[in-house]
Amino acid sequence: MGNKQTIFTDEQLDAYQDCTFFTRKEILRLHGRYHELAPHLVPMDYTKEPDCNVPLALIVNMPELKENPFRNRIVESFSEDGMGNLSFNEFVDMFSVLSEMAPRELKAIYAFKIYDFNVDNYLCKEDLEKTLNRLTKEELTPEEVELVCEKAIEEADLDGDSKLSFADFENMISRAPDFLSTFHIRI
């Protein structure tokens, strides 16, 4: 309704609405944000599905991500090439998973990816230590870091392999009361 937009075809918008948690208006707004990241790279007309990627460096400078200690990991988890360059599909996907309406299970899957720094499908002690150091900007002493990671693994590890598999992580997240309210970005 209103003025006709020429950025997407109707089918494309329909598809986006079904595949994400955004409405049509929000998708158009997201396209605007994506375009202003790299105006010379990103075409305004997406009806032909152009294949363009915005590099990692531009995306992590977005105001929503700038202060996040995990911004690099977030963008890398959603990028297909693993290097952090996002196409528009992946851009929308990222913010859809991080929106308020995404269910807990979906968020848990991506949270696990984000915190898995060495990409081995386990949150081992090194991953936890890296997470903690990013969170506190290395202001905890190494002994404190070690103690905290030990306690965290002790709390969440169910199968006794002293690292957290996805099952452990999901079980722990379902009991973490703050997860849903903190793991979301408003855009």
Binding site: E90, L106, K137
Partner: protein, 751 residues
């Protein structure tokens, strides 16, 4: 720890991928796409789960396809957007679904289409509704700057604004609107008659003659004088019945029922709002709630966009982690306490608790004395100095505010000597403050009532002291009105005269004292107690002062902006962070306590104390509750017997018994669920161990080149050649070989 043969690392420290592990369904759902998988994207119209680049391509194309189909069947039941796939895959899913849909019958197509359209409609409606929400932009900004803890305070404030507005609309719609309509339309109204007895004498309190301007201000601030004879207070509602063309409107009944309705509505709305938070906090254990995992993985607020806020969040996380480590240490220390130390601690705690009780008793007594003094001073009408007048009027409010200011400081000092764990310290101090705040209102009302029902030495003729309190409900309403106004004035005054100067002093004058004082902290619990206190007054006062909810709505509206400005300009967030998850439970729990406390005085005054005969809608009845019983007796037979049965003792007892049974059932169910959860958790642990054990064995079988014991081998081999099934035997003795009858193609090279 021994070298783990399952998860062996190569020299670089990375875990080398194990081909067997990669084929487990639980792995495949998580692995990342590598570059090689982009080549498979070119394939049209096929649903693919994420596969790793290594391993599974060769092993079982058939197993993968079977998994594909099973996955497809599962995913069809969930909406596409909830799947953990890339956007491109989801869109392919959708096109595939559309293609499949064309094959379905038209009925199914129509059903799918309507379901999709309804979902879109619901999303659009939700979007539109949330854009209508009050203060959406402001709250978004606060969330970005200060995180979700403080955000919960402001959304709580917004909730109270809406609640008060709805309560006001309720009272207005059922009590004031009919009167206004009747005066404009052709309705006949009967008023309460003055029957000439001594109880119905109502001296006018309007000022006569030349009125000095500041007396108007006194009236406005104290609800007396010209305000007393307005719709603001109970005493002005003198209408008895309104006769419309085809119905009679019984105003006293409407007044009473509206009161019950707004209390009930508040209860339901608060319970509904707290249900989600309560469910979540039931799932998480008490101890785990402060857990390290929760802080590490769910600690960072992804909403923060401000550099300052990020810095503060970091330092608050740091503080929390350090506090938790400290708490672990203290728990250890408590467990190590000797008996002598325990006795000493308990003695100290006993003495300090007695001290706290003494302080509380002193505060309550001073409130009582102040109320009585204020009432007597007003009764004497000693129109002296304007300021002195106001002070006499506001004396109870001043004493309550002073008490509520001093006692939290005292409690936070005392708690340090009682040697509890830090988490318990916070909770216990908070409980004491809640108790203090809400009970002070109760004491005020109690002292008011003791004055109203005291008539010197003889029992009261009219059931209340008609000489001093010819219209006692209006007087109670005036006290509540004064409390509300004074509360608002104090909040504004503290913000302007304490917080702004504090910021200026601390920022511009560097010295040891200012550094110790520091910048103002936005202490969430104290602020929440403040507004819950105001809301409790509103609930109590609405029966006596029907326009009080409107005043409270406006008050909270202004408080939002004042607090927001103060927060942005003056405050830094508290060093002791307040978790958003806890806040749902805390805020709404305290609000429920306030509601319960508010119901009590209203119930007592409606049912016990005789209503005044000189004013108000209940003149023709002894107590306000009587209007309901009289109406019930006038109802037609069937309905009357039903209502009488519902209120009889037999029904009440049987209802109570049934409720107890239901409660026992639910408790037993909860206990059973907890047991099942523990069992499942143990089972999960066992499954994990089983998996590791099996994979260890398989890896060993793949690596062992020759069989150690020949005799058993040949016998096994001969038996296995006849049965081509996949056959393994496990034994405790590692030397005995394990081998597979149908070995995977890869392992042929290893054997």
């Amino acid at each position: 720890m021994e070298v783990d043969s399952v998860f062996y690392t190569d020299r670089s420290g990375r875990v080398a991928s194990n081909p067997l592990l990669d084929q487990l369904p639980s792995y495949q759902s998580l692995l990342y796409r590598r570059k090689s998988s982009t080549s498979t994207n070119k394939r049209k119209g096929s649903t693919r789960t994420r596969l790793s680049s290594s391993g599974s391509g060769k092993w079982g194309g058939s197993t993968v396809r079977r998994q594909d189909e099973k996955q497809k069947a599962q995913t069809e039941q969930r909406p596409i957007r909830e799947l953990a796939k890339t956007m491109a895959e989801k869109r392919r899913n959708k096109t595939q679904q559309l293609e499949e849909a064309r094959d379905l019958s038209s009925w199914r197509q129509w059903k799918q289409n309507t379901r999709r359209n309804l979902r879109k409609l619901r999303d659009d409606a939700k979007d539109w509704l949330s854009s209508l929400q009050l203060w959406r932009g402001d709250i978004h900004m606060i969330e970005g700057m200060f995180g979700t803890g403080i955000l919960s305070y402001f959304s709580f404030l917004r909730f109270l604004v809406m609640l008060n507005l709805i309560i006001f609309l309720l009272m207005f719609g059922f009590v004031m609107l009919p009167i206004i309509i009747a005066s404009h339309s052709s309705g006949n109204t009967t008023y309460n008659q003055n029957d000439g007895s001594v109880c119905s004498v109502y001296p006018s309190s309007a000022r006569r003659g030349l009125v000095i301007y500041h007396e108007h201000i006194t009236d406005l601030l104290s609800g007396g004088g010209f305000l007393e004879q307005t719709y603001l207070f109970y005493g002005y509602y003198k209408v008895d019945k309104i006769f419309f063309s085809n119905a009679t409107y019984n105003l006293p009944l409407a007044y009473l029922l509206a009161t019950i309705a707004y209390l009930f509505l508040s209860l339901i709305w608060i319970v509904k709002r707290s249900a989600t938070g309560f469910k979540r906090s039931l799932v998480s254990d008490e101890d785990r709630f402060q857990s390290f995992c929760n802080k590490i993985f769910a600690g960072w607020d992804f909403c923060i966009t401000n550099e300052n806020a990020a810095r503060l969040k970091r330092s608050s996380l740091l503080y929390e982690l350090r506090t938790d480590l400290e708490e672990e240490r203290i728990k250890q220390k408590i467990a190590d306490r000797t008996r002598k130390e325990k006795c000493r601690i308990y003695l100290i705690r006993l003495i300090l608790n007695l001290f706290v009780i003494g302080v509380l008793a002193g505060c309550f007594y001073s409130i009582y004395v102040a109320t009585i003094f204020s009432q007597e001073a007003q009764a004497k009408y000693a129109k002296g100095n304007f300021i002195v007048d106001l002070i006499y009027e506001y004396l109870p409010s001043i004493v309550i505010t002073l008490a509520n200011f001093i006692t939290p400081l005292l409690f936070s000092v005392i708690i340090n000597f009682e040697d509890y764990s830090p988490a318990f310290e916070i909770r216990f101090t908070l409980m004491r403050c809640v108790f203090m705040r809400l009970t002070s209102i109760g004491v005020l009302l109690f002292s008011l009532w003791s004055q109203i029902t005291k008539c010197g030495d003889d029992p009261c003729i009219c059931g209340y002291n008609h000489v001093l309190y010819s219209c006692w409900e209006t007087r109670v309403g005036q006290e509540m009105y004064k409390l509300t106004i004074f509360d608002f004035i104090i909040i504004v005054a503290v913000t302007i005269f304490v917080e702004f100067p504090r910021k200026l002093i601390v920022n511009h004058w560097e010295c040891g004292l200012t550094k110790w004082w520091g910048q103002q902290e936005f202490a969430i619990p104290q602020n929440v107690l403040e507004i819950v206190y105001g809301q409790t007054i509103c609930w109590i006062g609405t029966f006596y002062c029907p326009m009080l909810p409107a005043i409270c709505t406006i008050k909270y509206f202004f408080i939002f902006y004042i607090k927001k400005v103060s927060l942005i300009n003056n405050c830094r967030p508290a060093t002791r962070p307040f978790r958003a998850s806890r806040s749902y439970f805390f805020f709404l729990g305290v609000l429920l306590i306030g509601l319960a406390l508010a119901c009590l005085p209203v119930a007592v005054s409606v049912a016990q104390i005789n209503c005044s005969q000189a004013c108000g809608p209940f003149v023709n009845y002894t107590t306000s509750w009587e209007v309901l019983t009289t109406t019930v007796y006038e109802l037609p037979d069937g309905v009357r017997t039903l209502l009488l049965t519902l209120s009889s003792e037999a029904f009440a007892v049987s209802f109570f018994v049934v409720t107890c049974l239901a409660m026992f059932y639910v408790i037993a169910l909860a206990g059973a669920h907890k047991r099942v959860i523990n069992q499942l958790r143990e089972q999960l642990v066992m499954e994990g161990r089983d998996k590791r054990f099996l994979i260890q064995k398989l890896c060993q079988a793949q690596r062992i080149p020759s069989v150690k014991s020949p005799v058993s081998n040949s016998r096994h081999r001969s038996s296995s050649s006849s049965s081509p099934s996949y056959h393994t035997s496990f034994s405790n003795n590692f030397n005995e070989a394990l081998f597979l009858a149908n070995s995977p193609p890869d392992s042929s090279t290893h054997v």
